[in-house]
């Protein structure tokens, strides 16, 4: 079972799409709201080298944006 973390903001459309994708595929994940947690915001910026959301971490691999193709490959989803 992959370790999945998503950094989001409440108004981000692609963040919602990513979470819906996880739900549809029974992927468990933890979420950090970077709009309200500046420590996690900095963590996200350090890990991804940029400020766009969502940032998704799958077992230490960073995916910037809702890249369904890359996420499917990392999570073993067809």
């Amino acid at each position: 079972m992959a370790n999945v973390t998503i950094y989001t903001t409440p108004t981000c459309g692609y963040c919602k799409a990513a979470k819906a994708f996880f739900k549809d595929n029974n992927v468990e994940y933890s979420e950090h709201d970077v709009a309200n947690d500046s420590e996690k915001a900095n963590e996200m910026i350090q890990k991804s080298g940029q400020m766009g959301v969502p940032v998704i971490e799958v077992d230490n691999e960073i995916v910037v944006g809702f890249d369904q193709t890359k996420l499917s490959s990392l999570l073993g989803i067809k």
Binding site: T11, G13, A17, A20, V34, A35, M51, G52, V53, F66
Partner: protein, 304 residues
């Protein structure tokens, strides 16, 4: 042998998704191709005028639309794919993407609009590293910071207003003599204590190291000034995403010219929503136009 469909819809925003529902319910073998899902609406803030949804957000509305099309098993939906051309293939079409060529008896272009770029040094380099085109998406990461908004029209003023509530300061960099947005917005902006307006200011470049540090602008007299900012929100309007095909006729704004049935000048090629020359760009209009284009495609195929 390329995969083939009755209808290929280019764009997965409201007009594309609405078209997909109408096509599939008419029994047409349907594919929707989009680089993302939701189009412009996914990046919009509060929406209070979409019939049936009361007060909602663009992000939520995009999600509702997506759930709706996911409910139709027969819609083939390709994400993260770019269409790079459409060519005629006898009396059918070939839709060329960055991955494959797809055969289509009819095509609906619903590719919408994209933010206009400034075309200045630093803009590409610092994209997502301080430069943003979406205050709704990215504003929260600039909480307590100094930012600039380039653009004195409605988009710029709305962005500046919403950023002023979370950022330390907002500098509005406006090219013209005065702000060009609506009076109510202009008044609200003038009342916001942490917003400074720079008129007659031409943005020249964005400077930084890993992330943005400064914006450089030119005054009317030619002198260069710098402001220290961590974010630069570029809000200078939208342009139609119509440059990937040469079949259809475009107007002087590069919008695809359509008739009231969403037909282009090419038989079997239809277009819907913000990429076309309709007068108004609203989510509910895009949805309606998508449905119209789908029905036109259906009638066309029924008589083919």
């Amino acid at each position: 042998m390329p995969r083939t469909f009755d209808v290929v819809i280019i764009g997965a925003g409201p007009s594309g998704m609405s078209a997909a529902i109408y096509c599939t319910r008419k029994g047409l073998k349907t594919m929707v191709i989009g680089k993302d899902v939701g189009g412009q609406v996914a990046k919009s803030g509060e929406i209070k005028n979409y019939l049936g949804y009361g007060s909602t957000t663009g992000a939520d509305l995009a999600q509702f639309f997506h759930e709706h099309i996911k409910g139709f098993e027969n819609i083939e939906h390709e994400h993260g794919v770019y269409v790079i051309d459409i060519v005629k293939n006898g009396d059918s079409f070939l839709v060329k993407t960055d991955k494959e060529e797809i055969g289509a008896e009819a095509v609906i272009i619903a590719s919408g609009r994209v933010p206009r770029k400034l075309g200045i040094p630093g803009e590409e380099e610092f994209n997502n590293k301080g430069v943003s085109y979406c205050d709704v998406c990215d504003g929260p990461l600039f909480s307590g910071k100094d930012v600039a908004v380039v653009g004195g029209g409605n988009s710029g003023l709305e962005a500046a207003l919403s950023l002023s509530k979370i950022c330390k300061s907002v500098a509005v960099i406006n090219l013209t003599e005065d702000l060009t947005g609506d009076e109510t917005l202009k008044n609200k902006i003038k009342e916001a204590l942490n917003v400074t307006i720079y008129n007659n200011a031409k943005t020249k470049k964005v400077i930084g190291e890993t992330f943005v540090k400064e914006l450089v602008y030119e005054e009317k007299n030619g002198s260069e000034k710098r402001i220290s900012v961590q974010g630069v929100f570029i809000e200078i309007g939208y342009v139609p995403k119509s440059d990937f095909e040469k079949l259809s006729t475009k107007d002087k704004f590069n919008r695809i010219v359509i008739n009231k049935n969403c037909e282009t000048n090419v038989v079997g090629l239809f277009a819907a929503g913000d990429v076309t020359d309709i007068r108004d760009n609203q989510v509910i209009i895009a949805s309606g136009e998508g449905a119209k284009a789908a029905l036109s495609a259906y009638y066309y195929l029924a008589h083919k």
